[in-house]
Structures are given as structure tokens and as C-alpha cells.
């Protein structure tokens, strides 16, 4: 086999310019794909991190039917007493869970004593919430990151529109579960940036304040935000937890809870899928580049060496050996293209990271960072090499099937 490699490499070096051009084309393709995968992957992961770690959590559990009517934030769909106990018992028993945070979600009117606007509020236990969504505190752009009873974190949009700043007194008026209305005065603790750009109208208050405002006598929870120890286990753990939750039935014999992953709760999942799709098509383009360029070169190589093929076949070289000779040439070009492409791609990534370039996404300045998973490098390299071999097969097969007598007559 080493002799076949020696002959293949020498034949490739025999046509230096052509080999160099083909290998360069493959290299360019690999570099482009690698850098795109690295930058888009980093952007995607950054956004997923922002959304899950500062807002949604990795998973959420609600009472069955809550998410379907989430636009109205119905208080009568909250989890109560026995359901809460059952659910927390299940969650506490899961070693995959790093932390979880109970929330009450409700809508209300926000007043600065001169103007009134609507607001969506999430009542939290700050200590538990900051463990389940650790980047939430980073979203506080003005004021204190601490949320104590009597305080409110308000969205930037509302603060700017209603000219409210930290320390100001505001009033929240909300409708209780029984239809009555209640109001409570809060002090603005901080102003929060939206996780995904402008348009957010979500504020945060303490759970104790929500209970008082909504006149809740017993403990109620609208949703549990769950953070996993390993985000990579999301799919398998959600299947496991879903199985456990499905066993808990209400008095009507129907499931008591519903479980959603961040993917089912955030519209960014569609953007993430679009990025994946673009990556897939760019990989397809790479495959096409490799396939066409290698096949072109190998067809030329076979055509130019017909008499040589006739000679070695006449001497007694087996068709399989001749096939291998040409396939190895394609393989070597694929390996060279993948290797150099990976090195150049990694070098470009290092330069990009050193330049610390930023770009605007919504209202955020995002640092352009490139990081690639070693598995991606392996997959891209393997794809290039396999496609190179596949592209060489047809010309190699043709060479191996050549009649020596006709090949020797070729001029």
C-alpha cells in the first residue's frame, strides 16, 4: 500500500500546477465552510445562551394548557398546593437539574402617576431565579441588580417611554384571579435590557409582592424555569422528564403538567434552524466543489496516462491495483486540501478573535468570535476526503477496466 501512495504522490507532483490549483480550490472551500461554521455556530450558541440563561431557562414546566393561553397569562391556570408538591418532588429527584425557579406570570398596568401603560410581569424568588437564569442580572443596565420585596425591574422600553429611572416610585395595578383589581406601589430597582432586541415589555417583581398584589392566600406557581447541569443533555433529559410528568394525572385522568424546551418557547429557535440550514447548504457547496474539481482532475489524469495504464496492465498489474492507484491520488488531494484548509481556517479564526470585531444585533453589540467544535473539523475533513475518494472512483474504475491492447495503442 505504501508503494501505491508513493506512486500516487509522485504522479500528483508530476502535474504540480494542476494539483496545486485543485488542492487550493478544496482548501478555499474548507476554509470558507470552517470559518462560516465557526462564526455562525458561535453566534447561534451565544444567542441560545442569552435566551436560555437570561430569560427562559433550558426547560419550563407549566400546568397543562398554560402555554396555549400564555398570551393572556391566565392566573386560573397556575399550579397550586398538591401539584406544586408533586412537581417539586420530581424535580428535586433529578440529578441532571442544576437548579429550578418557580415563577408567577401576570399582566398589569404600569403607572408613573402621570401616564399608564401595560406590562407583563414575572414574579420571582431572586436567589433561585439568578441560579436558574444566571445572566438575568447582566441584563440590568441601570440601577441595582438586586431585587428585594417592594422593588421592580422594568424594561428599558417602558423606562424610556415613561421617563422612569431607578429610585422612582411606580404603581402596578393587576387583576386578581377572582376578577377584582388591586394596586401596589413599587420602587424601580433597575432598568433591564431586552434579551433579544427592542420590543420587550417584561418586568420582574418579588414573589412575595406578587402574592400580595394578586391577593393569593396559598402558594401558586405559573411556571418552573429549569437549568440543567449539561445543556447537551437537553433532548434526552426532556424525554425522561416528560415521561415522569406524564404519569402525574389530574382528577379527570389527564396529564397534570406540560414540559417545553427553550426551542418550543423561543422564536429564536427558527433563526437557529435557519442558520443550521445555511450551514448545511454551504457544506453541500463544498461537496460540489470537491466532487467537480477532483473528478475533473482525475478524468484528465486517466486520459493523459492511458499508455501508462496499458503498460502496467500488460505487465500484469491487477485491475484492482490500478483502481487503487487513482483512488489514492484523489484521496491524497482530499487530505491535502482538508489539512491545509483546516490550518488556514484555524489561523483566520485566531486572527478574527484577536481583532475583537463587534457588530450590532438588535440593540446589542455582539463580539464577533469564532470557535469551532473539534467534531466539526473532523466531520468537514472526513466529508472532503470521502467525497474526494468518491469523485475519483469513476475515473479510477474506467482506468482499471481499460483493455491493455487499446490503451497501448493510444496516441
Amino acid at each position: 500500500m505504501s508503494n501505491l501512495f508513493k506512486i500516487a504522490l509522485r504522479n500528483l507532483l508530476r502535474y504540480k500546477r494542476r494539483t496545486l490549483l485543485t488542492a487550493s480550490l478544496i482548501t478555499l472551500g474548507v476554509v470558507f465552510v470552517l470559518v462560516f461554521v465557526a462564526v455562525s455556530g458561535t453566534f447561534k450558541n451565544l444567542m441560545i445562551g442569552q435566551i436560555t440563561d437570561s430569560m427562559i431557562g433550558h426547560l419550563q414546566v407549566h400546568r397543562k394548557g398554560f402555554v396555549a393561553s400564555i398570551e393572556t397569562l391566565p392566573l386560573n391556570m397556575n399550579l397550586k398546593g398538591g401539584a406544586i408538591a408533586k412537581l417539586e418532588k420530581i424535580l428535586d429527584a433529578q440529578p441532571e437539574i442544576a437548579s429550578y425557579s418557580p415563577r408567577i406570570k401576570f399582566g398589569g398596568m404600569f403607572s408613573n402617576f402621570t401616564e399608564t401603560s401595560s406590562i407583563r410581569l414575572t414574579a420571582i424568588d431572586p436567589e433561585r431565579e439568578f441560579k436558574a437564569v444566571p445572566l438575568l442580572a447582566d441584563r440590568v443596565s441601570d440601577g441595582s441588580k438586586e431585587l428585594k420585596p417592594g422593588g421592580i425591574l422594568i424594561p428599558e422600553l417602558l423606562a424610556r417611554g415613561m421617563k422612569v429611572k431607578p429610585g422612582d416610585a411606580v404603581v402596578i395595578v393587576a387583576t386578581n384571579a377572582d376578577g377584582s383589581v388591586n394596586g401596589k406601589q413599587f420602587t424601580v430597582t433597575g432598568v433591564m435590557e431586552s434579551a433579544t432586541g427592542p420590543g420587550g415589555r417584561d418586568g420582574y417583581v418579588h414573589l412575595d409582592d406578587a402574592k400580595a398584589l394578586l391577593r393569593m392566600e396559598d402558594r401558586q406557581v405559573s411556571e418552573y424555569a429549569i437549568r440543567l447541569k449539561d445543556f447537551g443533555n437537553l433532548a434526552s433529559f426532556s424525554r425522561k422528564l416528560e415521561g415522569l410528568l406524564d404519569k402525574e394525572l389530574n382528577q379527570q385522568g389527564k396529564p397534570m403538567f406540560e414540559l417545553h424546551t427553550w426551542e418550543q418557547l423561543s422564536p429564536f429557535f427558527n433563526i437557529a434552524r435557519m442558520i443550521d440550514m445555511m450551514t448545511f447548504f454551504i457544506k453541500l457547496m463544498l461537496i460540489a466543489i470537491v466532487l467537480i474539481s477532483i473528478m475533473n482532475v482525475m478524468i484528465m489524469a486517466v486520459y493523459e496516462r492511458i499508455r501508462e495504464i496499458g503498460t502496467i496492465a500488460a505487465i500484469g498489474t491487477q485491475p484492482g491495483t490500478i483502481l487503487n492507484m487513482f483512488v489514492i491520488e484523489g484521496f491524497c488531494m482530499g487530505v491535502a486540501g482538508a489539512l491545509v484548509g483546516n490550518l488556514v481556517g484555524l489561523a483566520i479564526m485566531v486572527v478574527l478573535n484577536l481583532l475583537k470585531m463587534t457588530y450590532r444585533f438588535g440593540r446589542q453589540d455582539i463580539l464577533l468570535q469564532a470557535a469551532v467544535n473539534p467534531v466539526d473539523i473532523l466531520v468537514i475533513s472526513a466529508t472532503v476526503i470521502v467525497v474526494s475518494v468518491v469523485a475519483s472512483l469513476q475515473p479510477a474504475f474506467k482506468a482499471s477496466r481499460m483493455e491493455p491492447i487499446q490503451a497501448l495503442r493510444h496516441t
Binding site: 501508462e308 496492465a313 505487465i315 498489474t317
Partner: protein
């Protein structure tokens, strides 16, 4: 029984709607360690006959036996195996592999066809390099040596597997007379040393004189044989 026996072999080629009879039922026999030449004008069937003997083509009819094997019945793979084991080739244009050195070209059949062990390969290639006078050129590539030297390398490559038969189609056509005689002398020396049968084709009357047995082909038919080889199909000029 001889090394090679042809019995009424014919070879037809279809060109469009016309059938061309390249060989017209010729018969002959060649013994071991012979030095035989097929002569005749262009188109007389010399190359066709050598291709049949070398298992590169199959006869349309008749029976051709080489080293006790009916070569007309071999398939592609069997043909390659048979050639690798029994036949060496010397080509008019030398046909050395340009990416291999002189040493590697000679070594190629042992390495890629016969899978001979490294020590034995070294022994045989070195001996042949000495025998053909190319030991000092062993690391040169074909484009760095002369035509005569290339043909000497080709002779060594043909002999390195110790075949029973070496076929040479116009081996001196691209050489000047002096070099041609040198190459033929080398082939004879190798025949004497290795007891290999050499069959070559030529249309050069001066070169023909070097053969011990000469078959004359004319228009696809055997027109005579000299120097004691019995012609069973055509005329015998003995």
C-alpha cells in the same frame, strides 16, 4: 512439447461493416530458450500475433497454447495473472513509468505484480542492473537517460520476474543501428543467461539477421520460417 504452440489461429477485426482478417489460420511452434523474430511489412499481422501470444487479445478461432495454457480462454484477471507470471514485455517506445527511477521501473513487476519480498527484489534488480549495464544510472528518471538506455531498462524490467517468454514489438524501431545491435546483443545474452525465449517483431532487414528463427508474415498469413523451426501452417523455408 514446445513453449508456444499456435494451431490455425485467426483474428478478425470489425471495422464498421467490414471484417478485416488480420491473421488467417496460422500455425507454428516455438521451443524454450529460442530467439525468434516475426518479420513482415506494416499491416502483415506481426503486432496482432504478438498481442495474442501476450494474452493482450484473444484469437477469433484456433488454439494458442503458451506454457501449457490455452491463453484464448483466460478472462481479464486470469490474463493479468498469467502475464505477470510468464511473460515479459519490451515496447517500441520503451514505456517506462516516468515517475519511477530506473531501479524502481525494474522493480515494479516484482513489487506490484508478483509481491516478491524486499531482499529478493533487491537481489534480482541489482543483478539485472549490472547485467544491462545500468547500475550507475539506477537513481535516474527515464527523462534523464537516452533511448538506448531506456530500452536496456525495459529489457531488465521484462526479465526481472524470470518469465518463460519475452515479447518485444519492434524493440529497436526508435534506436539507431548501433544501439539497436547493442540491445539485441543484450537480449541474446539474457536469453543465454536466463534461458528465456525472446520473440520480437521487426521490419528492419538488418535486425532480422540477429534472430535464430525468423517467421515471415504477409497479409495475415505465415509465409515461411527459417533456421529449423517447423512451420505447420504455412510454407516451410527450412
Amino acid at each position: 512439447m514446445g513453449l508456444l504452440k499456435a494451431e490455425k489461429i485467426t483474428k478478425d477485426y470489425q471495422v464498421g461493416e467490414i471484417v478485416i482478417q488480420a491473421l488467417k489460420g496460422i500455425s507454428f511452434e516455438i521451443g524454450a530458450a529460442s530467439f525468434v523474430s516475426f518479420v513482415g511489412p506494416s499491416g502483415s499481422g506481426k503486432t496482432t500475433l504478438l498481442n495474442l501470444i501476450g494474452c493482450l487479445d484473444t484469437p477469433t478461432s484456433g488454439r494458442l497454447t503458451v506454457a501449457d495454457t490455452d491463453v484464448g480462454t483466460l478472462d481479464r484477471k486470469e490474463g493479468a495473472l498469467f502475464r505477470g507470471a510468464n511473460i515479459g514485455f519490451i515496447f517500441q517506445d520503451f514505456n517506462l513509468l516516468p515517475v519511477l527511477t530506473v531501479y524502481e521501473n525494474i522493480e515494479y513487476p516484482l513489487l506490484m505484480v508478483r509481491k516478491v519480498a524486499a531482499a529478493e527484489r533487491r537481489r534480482r534488480v541489482s543483478a539485472l542492473l549490472e547485467a544491462v549495464g545500468m547500475a550507475d544510472q539506477r537513481d535516474k528518471y527515464p527523462d534523464q537517460i537516452s533511448g538506448g538506455q531506456k530500452q536496456r531498462v525495459a529489457v531488465a524490467r521484462a526479465l526481472v520476474t524470470e518469465p518463460k517468454l519475452v515479447l518485444a514489438d519492434e524493440p529497436t524501431a526508435n534506436l539507431d543501428h548501433a544501439t539497436a545491435y547493442l540491445v539485441l546483443g543484450l537480449m541474446k545474452k539474457m536469453r543465454d543467461e536466463f534461458r528465456t525465449t525472446f520473440i520480437f517483431s521487426t521490419h528492419d532487414p538488418k535486425i532480422v539477421g540477429e534472430a535464430e528463427t525468423v517467421f515471415t508474415l504477409e497479409d495475415g498469413a505465415l509465409n515461411g520460417a527459417k533456421n529449423g523451426t517447423k512451420d505447420k501452417g504455412g510454407k516451410n523455408n527450412e
